[in-house]
Structures are given as structure tokens and as C-alpha cells.
């Protein structure tokens, strides 16, 4: 049984290992729980000694790699760890061609890579993870490909929201960010269901950008800001008409304050639920952002490994975290300046 992470105290560094023995039906089950408060992670491993079979070897391998990963993350956690990492999942189709897979299998492999990165980010202590799943520009692809991607997306969303999925086990809340009206009804409903089902999770946040572009996000934010100001003005007018005249200075607002400010636009962005990303990783070596988080990435470390998205692994994450730590003071100073 996999246990959810225990509540962790910020800044704590004590390492606590408990061993729990249980004898059941002539088999011995060893359950050990490691809680590394400094790393904000909790792993639970089980070694089943009922005979030697493939399953137990697989579990053993998983436990060993998990242990090695925890050791690496314990070292990384000595330095600053980003609170928000964003991923542009580029290269699924090229991976499919490279590996001679069927159409769509590249995206499935990409989903597995996403789950792995989500797990690593959680274990490392990265609270916010954002992924660029589907751009508004991607609707320009062949209709057959778009339909197949939508179907895969719906399938994976439903998988993610099941009780035993990694999202619920780790306490991750999901947000779907973008112009969801552009999605088909079934995909949009699946997305809305996922957001409701995970609304009680609070250990980490996963933002899935779908039907999203940064410029569309800015347009939406500007529109919402204007609507809000307009509603304010209308309410004042109604109050005045009803004789509830409030002097210009009494309610603290005058005509000059009915202006859209920078903070208004910031507040109405889709991604206002998260802080600005510290790192954006785009796979397949491309050096452009392709209309992703342009507003939020002013002081963000950009990293473009040449690996295709399904090939991304722990080593890439370790590399970028080390880069982030090397340049942390500079990026922090730049953020303060702005």
C-alpha cells in the first residue's frame, strides 16, 4: 500500500526512519517508511518475500531506484529548489517516428514521461508544475490528428482522476488553463470533473495548459479587467440613481481610479493561481517559447535539452536544478528589480 505524504515542517532537516514488521500467513512483509522533512517527500516501499518472481524483482528495482533518487534529492535540497517548473512537451510525434511506433503511441509515451516528471518534481519539493499540453495553434493540425489527441486527452484525464491515480495519492490539485470553450463538450466536461474531484488536494498543483496561448491569455485578462471596471462603474451609477449618492471621495474611488492597472491584468490571467515559473523546460532542443507563459517568464531560467519529450528523464531535471541553483541569486535579484 502506498501511503500519502505526511505533513512536513518547513525547514526541518531531521531524517526519521521507522521500520514496521508484520507477519501474515507465513509470509513476512517488511514495510519501511522514510520521511525526509527537508526534502518534503515521503516514500513507501514494500518488499514482498513470498517467493522469487518477476513482480518482486520489479518492486525491488523500483525501491532501489526510489532510494537512490531520494539520496540525490536530499543533496539537491541543500540548495534552493524552484517552487514552479513548467514543461513544453515537444517531440512526441518525432519520437513516434524515431521508434517506428503507430500514430498516437508517441503521445502515450509522452504521458508516461509526464507522470514520471510529476513524481520527480513532487519528491524534490516543487509545489507547482505546469505543462503545455495543447496549444490553440495545434488546432491547425489534421482534423484526424486533433480528434485522436482529444480522445487521448479525455482518456488520460479520466485516468488521472481515479482514486488510485498518482494525482490523488500524492495530493495534487489539477487546473486546466486555457480557453476551454474551444474544446469539445466531452473533453471540457472531463477537465471540469477533474478540477472538481481534485479540489480537495493541497500538497501540490498541476496546471495543464490546454487550448492555451499566452496571447489569448492576455486578451482574456484584458477583457476580464475591462468587464470588472465596467461593472464597478455600473454599480456606482445604480447607487447614484437610487439616491444612495456616495461622494467621490467617500467611497475612495474617482474617475481616475476606474482604469485598468497592471495588477488587474495579472489577477485575471489563467495562470494567476500559480506564482511565476522559475524554470521553463522545452524538450527537443527548440529555443522558442511558442506562445507559452510569455507574460510570466520574464525572470525565468529557460532550458532546452535536445532529448525528445518521451525521452526526458531524471538526469535532465537534475541538470536544470543545478543550473538554477548556480544562478539563483542573479534571478532573485532580477525579480526584485522589476
Amino acid at each position: 500500500m502506498v501511503q500519502k505524504g505526511a505533513p512536513l515542517h518547513k525547514g526541518a532537516t531531521l531524517r526519521k526512519i521507522t521500520t514496521h514488521w508484520k507477519v501474515h500467513n507465513h509470509s513476512m512483509t517488511i514495510q519501511s517508511e522514510k520521511v525526509d522533512l527537508g526534502a518534503r517527500s515521503c516514500i513507501s516501499s514494500r518488499v514482498d518475500m513470498e517467493g522469487v518472481n518477476g513482480k518482486s524483482v520489479g518492486h525491488l528495482f523500483e525501491n532501489i531506484s526510489s532510494f537512490v533518487r531520494q539520496c540525490i534529492f536530499s543533496v539537491l535540497n541543500v540548495g534552493p529548489v524552484p517552487s514552479h517548473i513548467a514543461f513544453i512537451m515537444d517531440g512526441n510525434r518525432r519520437y513516434s517516428k524515431k521508434q517506428n511506433l503507430l500514430d498516437g503511441d508517441g503521445h502515450r509515451a509522452g504521458f508516461s514521461a509526464l507522470i514520471n516528471m510529476l513524481k520527480y518534481c513532487y519528491e524534490l519539493g516543487v509545489k507547482y508544475t505546469t505543462v503545455y499540453a495543447f496549444s490553440i495553434d495545434n488546432f491547425k493540425r489534421r482534423p484526424g490528428e486533433v480528434a485522436s489527441l482529444m480522445k487521448l486527452m479525455q482518456e488520460k484525464i479520466d485516468e488521472l482522476t481515479q482514486e488510485e491515480s498518482i494525482v490523488n495519492r500524492l495530493g495534487i490539485r489539477i487546473y486546466f488553463q486555457g480557453n476551454l470553450k474551444l474544446l469539445s463538450d466531452c473533453v471540457r466536461s472531463a477537465a471540469e470533473r477533474a478540477m472538481v474531484k481534485t479540489s480537495g488536494n493541497s500538497r501540490a498543483v498541476l496546471s495543464i495548459c490546454v487550448a492555451y496561448t499566452s496571447t489569448d491569455e492576455i486578451v482574456h485578462a484584458v477583457q476580464e479587467s475591462c468587464e470588472e471596471i465596467w461593472d464597478d462603474i455600473r454599480k456606482r451609477e445604480v447607487n447614484n440613481a437610487e439616491g444612495n449618492f456616495v461622494g467621490l471621495k467617500e467611497n475612495g474611488k474617482d474617475e481616475n481610479e476606474h482604469r485598468v492597472g497592471l495588477t488587474d491584468v495579472d489577477r485575471h490571467l489563467y495562470m494567476s493561481v500559480c506564482p511565476d515559473p522559475d524554470i521553463i523546460i522545452r524538450t527537443s532542443g527548440a529555443t522558442r517559447l511558442s506562445n507559452f507563459l510569455l507574460w510570466q517568464s520574464a525572470h525565468c531560467l529557460l532550458y532546452s535539452p535536445t532529448a525528445l519529450w518521451p525521452e526526458i528523464g531524471l538526469r535532465h531535471l537534475i541538470r536544470v536544478i543545478l543550473d538554477f541553483q548556480r544562478n539563483f541569486l542573479y534571478l532573485k535579484a532580477k525579480k526584485k528589480q522589476s
Binding site: 543533496v75 488546432f139 499566452s214 491584468v265 522558442r288 525565468c300 544562478n327
Partner: protein, 248 residues
């Protein structure tokens, strides 16, 4: 009780030793990383020297026409080195980037540097410093700063509000990207989208270049301005000419 206290002391001591060991390992890892980057830096210097001297033939012929709009972001601290900034502009001119049909967009300069750089606009000069000495007639430069980014969008939003939310609107407006583009142009913050953005600073980061203009811009990190090399500029532009974009 004594046993419990002893166990606690041992655990506490083990934890302190463990933390010290982790810190030491972290420092050693970062030392190794720094040594690695230093070695990479030396390799880059050698490569840039070979490129500048023309020995690497693949970099001798660059299809510069592919770079219609080039942007340069310079870290504000590094931009204080005015001589280096002007040297960079001369290099860009020598490559042939700064012609009548092309624009360089520079972010990060202060007022006096902009004034100095603007003088280049009206001068005719034979630019030296590379094998690509070219007669330069007019240099088209645009200077941007943080004010051109987020505050510009707020100004554009106010213009749209004034235009579309009149006192008696019958139907709620529905803004589009074209509306925002036109509003930005109207408030003086429009401009072309650069094809290539070169970052001169310690980190690959666009430092707040106007968001509306870098949707599909290739963002390439050159390195600190103080150690800039002509070869690295050539290499970045050469690599850009090989890029293919799907736009979807």
C-alpha cells in the same frame, strides 16, 4: 528515561552529521559543475576564435536574409559597459544584419547609451573587426525597456476600455488579438516580432522583453557581454538559419 535520552542524543548527533555530509556533497557537486563550465568556456573560446578567423568554412556563408528582425537583450548591469555595447552594434552591422530592410531591437540600455547608439543611425562607416567588412548606410535601431512590456499592455487595455465600454453599450465587446495589437500600436508600443533574440547576460532568460512580440522568437543565450566574441554571434545566427518552425 536515560536510555530514551541517549537514543535521542545519538539520533540528533547522527542527524547533524548527516546534514553536514549532505552540505559537503552539495558543495563538491557544484565545484565539479563550475569546473565543467570553465572547461566548456575554454572550448567555446577556441571554437569562436576559429569561427572569427574563417577557418571553420561552414560559418563563412550565412543566409542573413532569414533574420528580418533581430533582438538583443542585455543585462542592465552588463549594459553599463558602453564600449562593449557599441562594439556589438558594429559587429551586427558588419554581418549585414542592420540594413534598411532589417531592424535590431535592443533592450537593456540606459538613456545615454541609447543616445550614443542612435548616432550610429546617421553615420556611414566601413565597419571593421571581421572578414565581413561592409559599407553600412543606415542602421535601423529600436530601443525597448520594461515599460514596453507589461505596462504597455495595461495602457492598451485602458485604450480599449475607453473605446469599447462607452456609457451606453448595447452589446458586450469581444476582444481579439488583433484588437490588442492595434491598441499597442496606437499607444506607441507596437513593433515587429523578432525572429531571433540574443541574450547577453549570465543566464538564458529574456528579462522581460515585450511578451506580445516574442511568441515564436528563437531565444539564444550568448553569454556575458564582457566576454562576448564575434564567433559566438556568427554561430548563433548560423544555427538560427537552420531552424524550421511548424507554427502548430
Amino acid at each position: 528515561m536515560d536510555l530514551g535520552n541517549e537514543v535521542q542524543k545519538i539520533l540528533s548527533w547522527t542527524s547533524v552529521c548527516g546534514n553536514l555530509a549532505l552540505h559537503l556533497i552539495w558543495l563538491i557537486v557544484h565545484l565539479i559543475i563550475n569546473v565543467w563550465y570553465s572547461a566548456l568556456g575554454i572550448a567555446r573560446v577556441v571554437e569562436n576564435t576559429l569561427i572569427s578567423s574563417g577557418l571553420l568554412k561552414s560559418y563563412n556563408a550565412i543566409n542573413i536574409s532569414k533574420v528580418r528582425y533581430l533582438a538583443v537583450v542585455i543585462d542592465s548591469e552588463e549594459a553599463r559597459q558602453t564600449s562593449k555595447v557599441l562594439e556589438l552594434l558594429r559587429w551586427l552591422a558588419s554581418i549585414g544584419v542592420l540594413k534598411k530592410s532589417q531592424t535590431a531591437i535592443i533592450e537593456g540600455l540606459n538613456k545615454s547609451q541609447k543616445a550614443t547608439a542612435s548616432k550610429i543611425k546617421s553615420q556611414e562607416a566601413i565597419v571593421e573587426g571581421s572578414n565581413h567588412g561592409t559599407l553600412v548606410e543606415h542602421v535601423d535601431l529600436e530601443f525597448v525597456s520594461f515599460a514596453d512590456s507589461k505596462p504597455a499592455v495595461a495602457k492598451a487595455a485602458n485604450l480599449l476600455f475607453a473605446k469599447h465600454y462607452a456609457s451606453t453599450i448595447l452589446e458586450k465587446p469581444n476582444f481579439t488579438e488583433s484588437d490588442i495589437s492595434e491598441a499597442l500600436q496606437a499607444v506607441g508600443y507596437g513593433g515587429p516580432e523578432p525572429d531571433l533574440l540574443l541574450v547577453y547576460g549570465p543566464v538564458r532568460c529574456h528579462l522581460g522583453f515585450p511578451a506580445w512580440r516574442i511568441r515564436y522568437t528563437e531565444i539564444v543565450h550568448i553569454g556575458p557581454l564582457k566576454s562576448m566574441k564575434f564567433g559566438s554571434l556568427i554561430k548563433a545566427i548560423h544555427k538560427f538559419t537552420k531552424v524550421h518552425q511548424n507554427y502548430g
